[in-house]
């Protein structure tokens, strides 16, 4: 055998601990394959099976309950996520126009919105050039860390 029993045990533990999806070896007619730990999926509703199928979690993950984020996922879009917890504002003040709206062409470094935290107005900048496809939170809505704010189709 290519590996000793103990070595195979070590490999299994390593696969489990690191979270890799699979290890496969094929050497001199001997084969070894270890499939990694499958992701644990939680779901409250009957959509559990569907959620289970959508195994790998994209980073940043969509906020729980953000159905729209889910619906338009996996289309080669770029997501801008909130780097902080706070309140999402589309415009610098209540009377002003939104920084951006769907269809706008944006460039890197352009301000997309404000997330207010601890009375500080944090301007969130765009990190890609492209077109705004979707604005996810409503104006003045609380957002958590990592919550998706904008979907952008890269130019």
């Amino acid at each position: 055998m290519m590996f000793k029993f103990d070595e195979i045990c070590e490999l299994i533990k390593l696969v489990a601990a690191t979270g890799v999806a699979a290890v496969e070896l094929d050497h001199g007619g001997s084969k070894l394959r270890i499939d990694g730990v499958p992701p644990v999926v939680f779901a409250d509703g009957p959509s559990a099976a569907a959620a289970a199928a959508a195994a790998p979690r994209p980073a940043p993950a969509p906020a729980p309950g953000s159905a729209e984020a889910q619906a338009i996922a996996d289309e080669g879009l770029h997501w801008v996520a909130s780097p902080i917890v706070g309140t999402f504002y589309r415009a610098p003040n209540p009377d002003a126009e939104p920084y951006v709206k769907v269809g706008d062409i944006v460039h890197e470094g352009q301000t997309l919105c404000i997330v207010e935290a601890m009375k500080l107005m944090n301007e969130i900048e765009c990190d890609v050039a492209g077109t705004i496809v979707k604005v996810l939170p409503d104006n003045a809505q609380p957002v958590e860390y990592g919550e998706r704010l904008f979907a952008i189709r890269p130019a």
Binding site: V40, I84, V85, M118, E144, Y145
Partner: protein, 446 residues
Amino acid sequence: MFSKVLIANRGEIAVRIIAACRELGIATVAVHSEADRECLHVKLADQSVCIGPPPSDASYLDVSSVMSAAQITGADAIHPGYGFLAENAHFAEVVGECGLTFIGPPPDAIRLMGNKAQARQSVAAAEVPVVPGSERALANRDEAVDLARAIGYPVILKASAGGGGRGMRMATGEGELRAAYDTARSEAERAFGDDSVYLEKYLVRPRHIEFQVLADSRGRIIHLGERECSIQRRHQKIIEESPSPALSPELRDEMGRAAVAAARAAKYLNAGTVEFLLAEDGSYYFMEMNTRIQVEHPVTELVTGVDLVKEQLRIAAGEPMSIPKRRQVVASGHAIEFRINAEDPNTFAPSPGRISHLSLPGGPGVRVDTHLYSGYTIPSHYDSLMAKLLVWGADRDEAIVRGRRALEMFRVEGVKTSIPLHLKILGEEDFQAGRLSTHFMDRYAQ
């Protein structure tokens, strides 16, 4: 009473606080890092907010993120649990400045007790015994000898700039002390680039005895008896129990009064713990005061029947503590806590991973505080405490046999746990006889 409390913590203590809030009809907000989306406290709270990436300093320790989470959810108070921001006076201040209530002592009390020298001075002024010693650097060898004569041998010389045992020299008599003085100085010089040393009474096999205190805004301060936490390794407690096998009713009464005096000196409010070292001769010395709820608080809950976290919430809301004034808190029976860590029981190396099977012990006299469930993956970013197993018995002997059977019936697969270590400790004759000291775990040193 509060209408919504944000819990600035994770894991078992967050679950514990959710339980207390629910019993008082208070809504709860869980905060969590990206690594803790599946943690039980997130599932059990009424609301949850992701506050940052896995590392604690960017999530659970980030004051601004925690405060933002409180603001966007409309919480009116914050419970810090233990660890993380629990003893951060600045955080307590910010919470107050934002118009929310910090569920804990006033910032000044946190600050005072967080400074070892000031805490020592403050409690000494309240006539609470502190370890006798020079406090400041010794001028010369004769000062050391004079001081040692005054406080009695054995004594220990410690490097003023030191720590970690280096530059420390014990002496049981004058000759030894004179010889040790130069050695200690040169060791201190080599180790820290500073040869100043100070002298303290050396406690041979001290016990760690701490008193739970409660103080409310009506000026009432009480203690709820002691916990013995001598079974520790590198200052990490492993097993705690109440009552201590070493305390007579008279000594308990005296130390309890000292604990209340220490809390009063700090103008203390809410739940706190006064830690003492108890020497073999029955003398005891203030060590420090922990200005928060402690990991081992359930030990006291089991023998007194008082729900300490609910008392914290009542006190923070300005209500008097719920313990009837005429009723002396009477401890009944014996309680022991075993900290079940996800770690190798021999090497103490952390063992994060996925819980593939879990079966918790139940039955009489067993309490389990945990955030575990089968299928949960213990992240590697935080401490390894995965459950607190507590047992109550009519006496210490019953608590010990119950502890053994509960540990045996506690089945976890997928990670290594400290359960075998606990079983080993329970099997020790010294443990069974209650012969404990902070050196107990030295026998297992590698």
